[in-house]
Each structure stands twice: as structure tokens, then as C-alpha cells.
Amino acid sequence: MEQPEILIKPGMGALHYWRDIWRYRELFFFLAWRDILVRYKQTAIGIAWSVLRPLLTMIVFTIVFGKLAKLPSNGVPYPIMVFAAMLPWQFFANSLTESSNSLIDNSNLLTKVYFPRLIVPAGSVIVSMVDFLISGVILCGLMVWYRFVPDMRVLLLPAFFMMAFMASLGAGLWLSALNVKYRDFRYVVPFLVQFGLYISPVGFSSAIVPQKWRFLYFLNPMVGVIDGFRWALLGDAFPVNWPGFALSSILVVLMFAGGVFYFRRMERSFADVV
């Protein structure tokens, strides 16, 4: 059997990178599978955590923002409005937390085995997708409970999910690469996630932001993602501010492309630095 020749030279890492990612797809799935398996080992209630966490957050937000602050929900049951936003936000936040530490957690692999390093943070995003799917099931349950039927727009949901995915992976790549070099970022990420929860329209609707600031609000790319999710799931009650949405989309694409570029540039030195 003819074997491909591998050439190793300074600065040559890039040559067959994307082909290599395809070739290492099984490792990619194995790493994700490992993280999912390990996740709830030695926990008393195990997978129930994935149900409890979003559910409790939703209840707290509904009480604080819906009942106490009496913010509007445009005729949609408040829990459903919150949960439609929790879906992408939680996916983003979990991906960020998991992927930013992923390279350091796997440093024993990085220093000993070759594989395209991109599959490590990407694997963490896949793991967060499991939580996303579980939350999706909870949302279905809520919709049945409140007898809420989404219209045909729900078919566009995968497109918005792609946007959430790109935002998560893009930010994850940035933070994981930065974290290898500057360990400060392990303190930055929890703060970022906590902060982000309040500046993104998770517990409330983006409609309560004053009109003149509305466009600028979309500078936070998650605003575009969340509004997209609400529009697709909840219908006309949550119209999308399309110029703002376009701004968010552009930022997501830039963040993703920049993340891949920066990660690829830093990747070569990971094994020496980590």
C-alpha cells in the first residue's frame, strides 16, 4: 500500500491541516464521548443536573423579572420566553467555560501526541450541545404545558443554531488559545459568563432596551442569536431588528474567522508552552 509522505519543516504545520482534521475525526468523537461519560461520574443525581440547572435558572428569572419587576413578555408565557433565550445562552456559556480550559486539561495529550489541536476546544462545544439538546426537550415540555404552538418559522431554528455554534466555537478558540499563553484567562472566563448573562436579553426581552440604543445593543453578538431564537420559536410577538441582527451576524462571523486564524497561529507553540 502506498503511504503518503509526510514532510516536516519549520512553518509547515498548515499544509494538510483540514485534511488532518477529517482524518482525526474519530479521535474527535472519542474525546467528546469521554468528556460526556466522565462528566457526571460520581455525582449522586448524575444527568439530572443537566435538567435542574436550566430549570431552576428559568424559575428564578421568571420570578425576579416577570413577577417582581413585571417586565413585559408580549403575551407569551414568561417561562417560555426565558427558556427560548436560555437555550442559546446556556450553550454559549457552557461552551466558553469548557473550551477555555480544554487545552490545559488535555495538556498531557498535547505534549505527547500529534493531532490537529482544533479538535480539543471543538469537542468541548460538542459536549455542551448535549446540554442544549436536553434543554430543548425541556422547552418542548414547557410548550406542551402552556399549550403553546410555534409556527412554521421554527424550521429556521437550525440556521440560528449555526450562528450560536459559530459564536461559541469562535469565542472558545480565542479563549482556549489565550489561556495556554496567559493563565489569567481562567479568571476572566467565569466573570465574562456571569457578566454576559446580565447584558444579554436572557431574563428579559430586548424590546425593553430604548429605541435609540437598540442598534448598539446588537454589538453583543449574543443579542442577535437570542433574538433569532425567540423569533423562530415564539413568532410575531418578538420581531427581529434586522439591521441589528445583521450587525450581530457579521460580528459572529468575524469572531469565528478570527478565532480560527488566531488559534492556528498559536497552535504551533502549544506543546512548548502548555
Partner: protein, 456 residues
């Protein structure tokens, strides 16, 4: 017939290069790897953002004050060539042993060959799938069961799912762990752990296999089995093996050719006997003391071997020991971890033929791992008189958690000479030869009269 001649010459040349290309699987040309050592915060290879910011501010300050910052920068960073101008070729089916002292560049070479790190200069051409066993059990997850870890570890080493499934039973057989297949590996004994890890690795089928110190741990019987497996792989199946080890006996047994590295350069490329004797007889520190120079790229920061000394019976540091006198090996170790570590410190003495004469560990008598608290530890290994025959010996010291982590190791950095001082035996010239020459007190019973053995 000039035309025909030239045609056949061209044809022959083409044939020759084609043949060469067929059989040469690794071509290394002028390979070099440079590291930048940071002196200021030498402990951590990574930086804190704070340092970058403060450096930036400091440099800005210097610029404003009109002082150059170039000199300041070069004072903090120093170039270090871990590998320099290395060229060699490996043909298919070769079994190459790679030897050299700590920091000679062996591991850096392997890291470049297995594409973990990029070279600074030069190039490598590889033909075929490369698999490296840099450390046993890389990527094992303690919470996962043996079965799950076989799949995970296989994938990390480059096997596909289908391939692992096909060999699953064979792997389990080889590792002898059937009963514990569904137990998390954190409950395995270290022996079982190593066996499982090597079993997965041994069933890889790469064209080029890179092995680094895998056999440092594990029980003797299993080591034999692994060495056998490696010989099989290379001899019967025509695979290429690169084998880094400090076990000269194993190198002699397995390898057909040996590369000797010395301070980043390829010093010698020859058959094992020649290379090993060159290695054993050159460049040793022989004054009975070795002190950690601190420039090593440390495996792990938790534990560091600071110094090794040979102390003679008079209490002086010396590399010249009389065969009739006892002496001791003194090891100083600094532990720098939060709390304490369970460890085993091992000392191995190797003779000039590369044969390990004995290995002793800090756990020989305690039968449990030594508790190493933060601070400095001084360990003493007494060696009895008349035990080692005259000759030259080198010492390996390793600090590890068996089967899990190698904290630090110092290989052949220090050696000593046993001088013939004429013990009792030489008085009679009784041909006392052997790897060790202990004096043994015999029991001698005597009964007067004739004893008939058959009646007893």
C-alpha cells in the same frame, strides 16, 4: 553504442534512486530546534498577562528615558539549541536505538518526528504512519473503565474504531485484565495499569514505531513480554522501530543500529556495541558529585533531584572507590508541591557493558510509597564493600510515582570507579568473576568419620 550506454546509465541511476526511495522511510536533514529560555520567571513556561503588561510598561519607560530595550530583552531570554544540525536516514525495517545523556536532544528529536513540536531549521521526511509511545498510559482517564480506556487510548494513538474492535480480545488477553474490564482504571494496581496501557500500544500497527522509556515501569516479566513483542513487530513484519532507552541491554538485544546524541548533536551512528562502549566511556563526570545545573527543561516542577554524591568510607566525596571499602550514594531532592507527594526514589547502578548490576528503591523495606513533604530531602544508599568488582559504573536516579508520573530523573550524569584493592580472594587468585562479587560467609559443618550420602 554510446547512446545505448548512456541510456542504460540513466536507467540505472533512476532505478537506484527509486530503490533508495522505496526503502528509506525517514530522512532527517540538518534538523535543529531552538528554545528561548526565560531567566526572570524560569519556573513557568507560560506567562501571566500581568508580566506582559508590566514588561510593556517598563520598556515604554526605558524608551521614554532614551535607554535601549534590546539589551534588557536579551538578558532575560537566552537561546538554547536542544537539537542542532542532525542528519540521518532510516531504512524500512531498521531498529534504531537512540542513546545519550539527559538533555542530549533525544526527546526533542522524537517530539519533532512525532509532530508534536516544530523544528526551527531543517526538514524531516517520513513515509508511513508514525505512532509514538512517549509515556505509558497517555490519555488514560482514571474514571473510565478498562474497556472504555482501550477505545479512548487506541484512538489517541491513532487507531480507528473498527481496528480497535477487531483487536479488542487480543489486547485484553495480552494485558491479562479480563476480570477488571469494567472497573474504572483508578482502582487498578499500577502493574495492571501499565500492562493495559502497553497492551493497547503493542497492538498498534504503524509503519514507524517510536518508543521512549516505556519500559521504565512495570514488572520484570511483563517487560520481557513487551521487548519480545517489539522484536516481533520489527523483525517479522518489517516495521521500523526507534527506541530511546537507558537500558543498554535492551538496546543491544533489539537494535541493529544505534545513534548516540550529545548536547544536541548526533555524535555517533554505528552498531550498538561500538556506540554503547563509546557512550559508557566518554564524557562522564567522574569526581563523585553531580549538581543539578538548573537549565534542564524540567519534566515536572513538583520534585527535583538537586544533587547526587558518592561518599567513600572516609566520608569524602570521591569517584574513586576501593573495592574493599564500603561507600554510599547520597541524593538530595527538593519537593515543591502543595502538601506532600507519594513517591518512590530508585537508584540503578550500571556497569561499563551497559548491564544493570542492581536497582534499589526507597520502598525496598517500607513496602509503601515514601511520603515526601515540601522541603529538602536527603537520602543515603549504602553499598557494601567487596560487592562490586573493579570497573566503571554509572548511576541512574529516578523520582516517580510508579505507573503514574515521572517527577525527575538523572541518567548517567555521574559515575564512579571501583579500584582493585586486593581483597581476600585476589590473594588466592581464585578466578572470582561475575557481575557482582560479594563475599559470602559459608557454613561449614564437619563430622569425623565417613559419611555415606546415600544413607541420608
Amino acid at each position: 553504442m554510446p547512446a545505448a550506454c548512456s541510456i542504460s546509465a540513466v536507467w540505472n541511476a533512476a532505478l537506484r534512486t527509486w530503490c533508495n526511495r522505496m526503502s528509506t522511510v525517514i530522512t532527517v536533514e540538518n534538523l535543529g530546534k531552538k528554545y528561548l529560555l526565560r531567566h526572570q520567571s524560569a519556573q513557568q513556561p507560560y506567562m501571566a498577562l500581568r508580566d506582559v503588561l508590566s514588561d510593556g510598561v517598563r520598556n515604554l519607560g526605558r524608551k521614554l528615558l532614551g535607554r535601549g530595550d534590546a539589551s534588557a530583552r536579551s538578558a532575560e531570554q537566552e537561546e538554547f539549541w536542544a537539537l542542532r544540525d542532525v542528519s540521518f536516514e532510516v531504512r524500512q525495517g531498521d531498529r534504531i536505538g537512540i542513546i545519550g545523556r539527559n538533555g542530549a536532544g533525544k526527546s526533542t528529536l522524537l517530539k519533532i518526528l512525532s509532530r508534536i513540536t516544530e523544528p526551527t531549521t531543517g526538514s524531516v521526511r517520513l513515509k508511513g504512519r508514525v505512532a509514538s509511545l512517549l509515556e505509558v498510559g497517555t490519555g488514560f482517564h482514571p474514571e473510565l473503565t478498562g474497556r472504555e480506556n482501550i477505545f479512548l487510548n487506541g484512538a489517541i494513538l491513532g487507531m480507528g474504531r473498527a481496528e480497535i474492535k477487531k483487536k479488542f480480545d487480543e489486547i485484553v488477553d495480552f494485558a491479562e485484565i479480563e476480570r477488571f474490564l469494567d472497573t474504572p482504571v483508578k482502582r487498578y494496581s499500577s502493574g495492571m495499569y501499565v500492562r493495559l496501557a502497553f497492551a493497547v500500544a503493542a497492538h498498534l500497527e504503524p509503519e514507524i514505531l517510536i518508543v521512549d522509556e516505556v519500559l521504565a515501569v512495570g514488572d520484570a516479566q511483563f517487560q520481557k513480554k513487551c521487548l519480545g513483542k517489539m522484536e516481533d513487530v520489527s523483525a517479522k513484519e518489517g516495521r521500523t522501530v526507534l527506541f530511546v532507552s537507558h537500558n543498554m541491554g535492551a538496546i543491544k538485544n533489539i537494535c541493529s543500529r544505534t545513534l548516540l546524541f550529545s548536547s544536541g548533536m548526533l555524535a555517533l551512528d554505528n552498531v550498538p556495541d561500538v556506540t554503547i562502549s563509546e557512550y559508557m566511556s566518554s564524557g562522564f563526570c567522574q569526581n563523585g558529585i553531580w549538581v543539578n545545573p538548573g537549565d534542564n527543561i524540567i519534566v515536572c516542577n513538583k520534585m527535583r533531584i538537586d544533587s547526587i554524591k558518592i561518599i567513600n568510607s572516609a566520608g569524602h566525596i570521591s569517584g574513586d572507590i576501593k573495592s574493599t571499602a564500603n561507600f554510599s550514594i547520597h541524593i538530595q531532592i527538593t519537593v515543591n508541591d502543595n502538601g506532600c507527594l507519594d513517591a518512590q526514589i530508585a537508584v540503578r547502578v550500571t556497569n561499563q557493558d551497559g548491564i544493570p548490576v542492581f536497582t534499589t528503591t526507597s520502598t525496598d523495606f517500607t513496602r509503601k510509597l515514601t511520603n515526601m513533604r515540601n522541603g529538602t530531602h536527603k537520602l543515603k544508599v549504602p553499598v557494601p564493600a567487596d560487592f562490586l568488582p573493579p570497573g566503571k559504573y554509572s548511576i541512574i536516579v529516578a523520582a516517580m510515582k510508579p505507573g503514574e508520573e515521572l517527577y525527575d530523573h538523572v541518567v548517567d550524569e555521574i559515575c564512579f570507579v571501583i579500584n582493585d584493592a586486593g581483597n581476600h580472594s585476589t590473594l588466592f587468585n581464585d578466578g572470582r568473576i561475575g557481575v557482582v562479587t560479594p563475599l559470602i560467609r559459608w557454613d561449614h559443618l564437619f563430622e569425623q568419620g565417613i559419611t555415606n550420602e546415600r544413607n541420608i
